[in-house]
Every structure is written in structure tokens, then in C-alpha cells.
């Protein structure tokens, strides 16, 4: 499954944003959106990132693409550290890594036709193409994502949400990238359309070997599409494992709570389920709890959790299954 070579290696990534407030002399306060995150992505695999709002999952995606500046850490893309690269130095890398957004309509220019939107990356990166060649490439990718050739001159508002997401995917795929960051690509779509888009992404991966970082708050969707899953809480990784292992044998109390909280579409399963209901809400990332950031809502927190930050380690389990908890399930 994930035997491909490592194409992206993120090491101790931090993204802090200055926010208003703080004292006159103390300098700006920092919102720690991402605070020391390390992971790899291999060629052809899907790494799922799951977390609640404010966990930093989208920030990681954007920092990997250098759409926002990282504060610290390394982002090694195909052997080159791209953290802090200038716009000009970053540009040739952009054709290798693309993004698909949550809201398809909002991420497409309403005054451009579907054909022009999909062709835009080509006009930037392959300006030598003749108009005929460009049109052929656009039609090829449109067919691949399930859009009809006669739709090429239509505008985004003439398409449904699912079709607009196909346009967004076609635009991301046309340069044959090695990695696509898909940020909640199905969350705004209707239930019956979601499965179509999830299947499309799987087909494209099989055909082209593209890797995905698939970001979502929906554990079931992430589990279905991902080879490995990373669970994020307040800017830190709680657990990282193969999808199957994470689901069948969650070791972090937060992962266990997330799994038990997600409603399962089966009344007999729901009836027999004991839900771990976490108290309260996500703490503020401006002033995160000391030690383990999850301890304020953790059902098994002890004194040690307030003092020491738990490292992300395998802690007696499989080498590929790491957990940041002082007292993980075995």
C-alpha cells in the first residue's frame, strides 16, 4: 500500500499567527495553529488528516503548499526544503503540488468558463502549447473527471455542486501533480454526490499515482479514503497509524472519543454503543493547556499529563502506529 518512496517529509512544523491583545510591552500574543508536527507522505498514498475545527488541519495543508508561511520546521519536498522559499523559487514546485478546496463554487472564478478554469494552470506552466493542444488536454482531463465535452463553454453557476467540484479536481490534475492537498473536498456536497467524488479521487489515484493529503472532520470519510490517518488536536498530532489499525485499535483517548462520537448509520450499532462524551470545548490555541493539550477534556488525565508533553512514539505497539499519550491503551 504505502511502499512508495517518501515525496514529502514534514519535520517539526510550526505555524504561529500573531493576534491582537497582550500587554503593551509583552509583544503580540501568538496563536499556535500548528505546533510541532512531523509526518511523511509517500508517492501514491493518501494521508488522511482528521481533526475538529481549530485543530490546525487546514493550516498544515496550506503550509505544506507554502500558501502560508511556516514559523519553524522543515518541509522537505522531493529532497528540497521548501519552507521559506521565495515566491519565484517556489513557482516551479507548484506544478507538482496542487490543492482542491471545500467550497467548489467559491473557489472557481464565476466569470471564466469551465474550459478556461481548467486550462489556466496550462497557460501558466506550459505556455508553449498551441490552443488546439491545450483544448485537447482540457478535454482529456474533463473526460477523466466525468465532465461532458459540451460543458467546456459553460460557467460555474450553470453546474451543480458536485460538477463544480469535478472542475476543481480537473484544474488540480491537469498538470499531473505528484501531490494534491484535498481540503474537505466533499463536506459541502450532498450525501448522494459525496460517494461519486470519493470514488473519482480513488480512480484518479489508481490511474496516475498521485498522492493525496485528505483533510476532513469526517472520520468515516477519512478512514475510507486514506491509507494512513493522522489525528490532530489543537495543532498537535495525537495519533498516527494505518487506517485499519487506527479504526480497529485506537490507542489515544481522543481518537477513542472521536470514534465513539461519530454517529454510525445503523440503528442496531447505535443502540448497542457506549458513547464517550467529552466535556466542554476545544481550549484556545492562544493559551493551550500545559503538558498534554488534550488533558483538560481527557477522561483518564493524571498529574503527569499537566507537566510533561507526551512525545509521539510507538509506546510498545507497532512501529508504524504512534501515539502522543502518557497512558495509551495497549
Amino acid at each position: 500500500m504505502s511502499t512508495g518512496e517518501v515525496i514529502l517529509s514534514v519535520k517539526d512544523l510550526k505555524v504561529h499567527f500573531p493576534v491582537k491583545g497582550g500587554g503593551l510591552l509583552s509583544g503580540p500574543r501568538m496563536l499556535k495553529a500548528v505546533d510541532g508536527v512531523s509526518f511523511d507522505v509517500r508517492a501514491g498514498e493518501t494521508l488522511g488528516i482528521v481533526g475538529e475545527s481549530g485543530s490546525g488541519k487546514s493550516t498544515i495543508g496550506r503550509a505544506v503548499l507554502q500558501l502560508i508561511k511556516s514559523t519553524a520546521g522543515r518541509i522537505v519536498w522531493l529532497g528540497q526544503d521548501i519552507a521559506g522559499l521565495s515566491r519565484k523559487a517556489m513557482k516551479p514546485r507548484r506544478r507538482e503540488m496542487q490543492i482542491v478546496f471545500q467550497d467548489p463554487l467559491a473557489s472557481l472564478n464565476p466569470r471564466m468558463t469551465a474550459g478556461d478554469i481548467i486550462a489556466e494552470p496550462l497557460t501558466i506552466f506550459e505556455p508553449e502549447l498551441s490552443p488546439q493542444q491545450r483544448k485537447a488536454r482540457v478535454q482529456e482531463i474533463m473526460a477523466k473527471v466525468g465532465l461532458l465535452p459540451q460543458m467546456i463553454n459553460r460557467y460555474p453557476h450553470e453546474f451543480s455542486g458536485g460538477q463544480n467540484q469535478r472542475i476543481g479536481i480537473a484544474r488540480a490534475m491537469i498538470l499531473k501533480p505528484k501531490l494534491i492537498v484535498a481540503d474537505e473536498p466533499v463536506s459541502s456536497l450532498d450525501v448522494s454526490i459525496r460517494a461519486q467524488i470519493i470514488n473519482l479521487l480513488a480512480d484518479l489515484q489508481k490511474d496516475t499515482g498521485v498522492a493525496f493529503i485528505f483533510i476532513s472532520h469526517d472520520l468515516a470519510v477519512v478512514r475510507h479514503v486514506s491509507h494512513r490517518v493522522l489525528v490532530l488536536y489543537l495543532g498537535r498530532i495525537m495519533e498516527l497509524a494505518d487506517g485499519g489499525a487506527l479504526l480497529g485499535h485506537p490507542r489515544h483517548p481522543y481518537t477513542q472519543a472521536l470514534l465513539s462520537a461519530a454517529p454510525v448509520p445503523d440503528p442496531s450499532v447505535e443502540a448497542g454503543k457506549t458513547r464517550i462524551v467529552l466535556e466542554g470545548d476545544l481550549p484556545s490555541p492562544i493559551n493551550p493547556p500545559s503538558g498534554c493539550v488534550f488533558r483538560t477534556r481527557c477522561p483518564i488525565a493524571q498529574a503527569k499529563c499537566a507537566k510533561e508533553v507526551p512525545a509521539l512514539e510507538s509506546r510498545g505497539g507497532d512501529a508504524g502506529h504512534v501515539v502522543a499519550c502518557h497512558f495509551p491503551s495497549t
Partner: protein
């Protein structure tokens, strides 16, 4: 016992610049005392507008016809003054986005007690005591202090609790919840669902749960009504709808969702196409373009919602599906 809400031939039409749109088409259903009914559908299926019509909350260009009786009293066309005695007190509704449903410049306590002063003629002082009590009931920590705070000082999950508190404060007989947990995080959603579950089992409240999320329905509801293009395509008990769906759309919905409790890989079974344009509905079945079992009759004739087993109904020309999922012709 007579149903708490009885809806007959309810139709909702909107006049738009492009002409009339029929969002809800001749619905018939009852909500029985103590029921928890899930209304499932995608955007545009009419699930929200059905209950906006019941509550008399349709937009200015919307018009409801037919009948919706609450405890025998006709709601469609009821004068506003009378309607205001019922909604907000005996029958209440909570919405998806708690921030836009609360007044930002009024303290939570004021927004809660206002209803009591208005509907029940309580004194300010009693109303405030009751407001604190109800905030406790929906598990707002430190209710005595928080009652004097403004909506922006509450998190999303807390605001939804305040909305539920507001809906509960007059002891309603029917609670209509329109996607109450959709905007919330999974762990906070679990808290809200737990609270609704409590209300259902401990206080025997009748609940209508409008949602697109089949998982929410599975955990909470006893009956399900599935909507498509402004009509019911299937009704039944929750177990029947999930384990033995008899309408191709319901079958498609149930099988297209990735399941957390099953380690399946490979492709999801997706419903092809997208929901139809309500202004250009076909003559026959509204689901015909997406249905893999479509035949001549589906194109010629719109199937009516027909009962086929106790408590079950569907609108489909097919005879049904057997336990292996094969079509019975």
C-alpha cells in the same frame, strides 16, 4: 390517541423570477405523541420547508396550502396572533446556525426570560429563576453567571444549548430540530445528541429531527421519512429503513455512506447524477434519471406513496427488493 401533528396534502410553493417552484408536494403524515421522527433528505428535497410551513415561517414569497393540524387546530392560514400563542410555546423549532438565531446585543438571560414573560405572563424575577434552571438542564456550566453574558461569549456548542434551552423553556409538546448538530464538531455534536436523547426518554418529548445525516437518525429516531424532490419516497421504522430499504433512493443513500464500524475498502456504491431541478420535474417518477431499475411505467406515471406493510410506505413502481437486494418484479 390523536396525533400531536397531523399534516394533509401540504404543498409549499415559492414564486421566483423564473416562475413558480413547488418545493413541497402534497405531503401527508402524522407525528404521534412521544415519537421521534427523522426527516431525511438532501438540500432542495423540501425537508426544512415542510416544517417552516408548519411553523408559519415561510419566506415572503412562499405559500402553503393544504392542512397542518396541531392538536386538532389548523395552522395553515391561522392568524399570526393565534399562531404566536402556539409556536415558541407548545411547538418550537431549533435551527442549524445558533449564532444567527440569537440576538447578538441581548444578554442570554433576557432572550430566555422574554418568552416566559410574553407567553406565560411570569414576573421578570420568576422568569430569570426559570431561565437559570433551564440552562442547568441543558448542562450549561455555571448557569447563574453565564446568564448575564452575551451570545458571542459562548462557543458554538454552548450556543446550540442555549437555543435548545430557549425551545424548552415553555415545556413544548413538540420540538422540531432542523440540522441542530450539523455546524458543530463531532465531539460537540455527540453532546447535543445525548441531550436530545435525554429529552426524548426522560421527558417523553415528541421530536422531529430534520437532517441529511443518516448517522444522527440511526442513533436518535424511531421512525424515518425520506424525502426526494418535495415528496416522500419512503417511510418506515428506523430499523426497516436502514436494514431493509425498499425505495431505490433510500437503498442508494444507505449504501453510499462510508462506514466507520466496518473495515471496507474499495469503491462506494454511489447514486449517479444529481437531484432534479424542481422547476423542470419529469412527468413520471422524480428519481427516474438516477434510478438503475427504471422501466417504462416510471417514465409515464408518477408513483404515489403507497403502504405496503404495517407502518411502511414507498412511492415506487417496483414491487420491492428481497433480502439479497435483488429486485422483485
Amino acid at each position: 390517541m390523536a396525533p400531536i401533528l397531523s399534516v394533509k396534502d401540504l404543498t409549499v410553493r415559492f414564486s421566483t423570477p423564473e416562475g413558480e417552484v413547488s418545493a413541497v408536494n402534497r405531503l401527508n403524515f402524522d407525528i404521534e405523541e412521544g415519537d421521534c421522527v427523522g426527516v431525511v433528505g438532501e438540500s432542495g428535497s423540501g425537508k426544512s420547508q415542510t416544517f417552516m410551513a408548519v411553523m408559519g415561517l415561510l419566506a415572503a414569497n412562499g405559500r402553503a396550502t393544504g392542512s397542518a393540524k396541531f392538536r386538532g387546530e389548523e395552522l395553515v392560514g391561522m392568524p399570526i396572533a393565534r399562531l404566536n400563542k402556539i409556536r415558541g410555546s407548545k411547538m418550537t423549532m431549533i435551527f442549524q446556525d445558533p449564532m444567527t438565531s440569537l440576538t447578538p446585543h441581548l444578554k442570554i438571560g433576557r432572550q430566555l426570560s422574554e418568552v416566559l414573560v410574553l407567553h406565560k405572563g411570569m414576573s421578570e424575577r420568576d422568569a430569570r429563576a426559570r431561565a437559570i434552571q433551564i440552562l442547568d438542564r441543558v448542562k450549561i456550566p455555571d448557569a447563574r453567571r453565564r446568564i448575564d453574558q452575551y451570545p458571542h461569549e459562548f462557543s458554538g456548542g454552548m450556543r446550540q444549548r442555549v437555543m435548545i434551552a430557549m425551545a424548552l423553556i415553555c415545556d413544548p409538546e413538540l420540538l422540531i430540530a432542523d440540522e441542530p448538530s450539523t455546524a458543530l464538531d463531532v465531539t460537540v455534536q455527540a453532546q447535543i445528541l445525548e441531550l436530545l436523547q435525554d429529552l426524548r426518554t426522560q421527558e417523553k418529548m415528541s421530536i422531529v429531527m430534520i437532517t441529511h445525516d443518516l448517522g444522527v437518525v440511526a442513533g436518535l429516531c424511531s421512525k424515518v421519512m425520506v424525502m426526494y424532490a418535495g415528496e416522500f419516497c419512503e417511510k418506515g421504522a428506523v430499523g426497516e429503513i436502514f436494514h431493509d430499504p425498499q425505495h431505490p433512493y433510500t437503498r442508494g443513500l444507505v449504501s453510499s455512506i462510508p462506514r466507520l464500524d466496518k473495515a471496507e475498502d474499495g469503491r462506494l456504491i454511489a447514486i449517479p447524477g444529481s437531484p432534479p431541478n424542481l422547476q423542470r420535474l419529469p412527468k413520471g417518477c422524480t428519481f427516474q434519471e438516477r434510478c438503475t431499475h427504471v422501466f417504462d411505467r416510471c417514465i409515464a406515471e408518477r408513483p404515489a406513496l403507497t403502504g405496503f406493510a404495517p407502518g411502511r410506505a414507498k412511492s415506487c413502481h417496483l414491487k420491492g427488493f428481497d433480502s439479497t437486494g435483488a429486485v422483485i418484479r
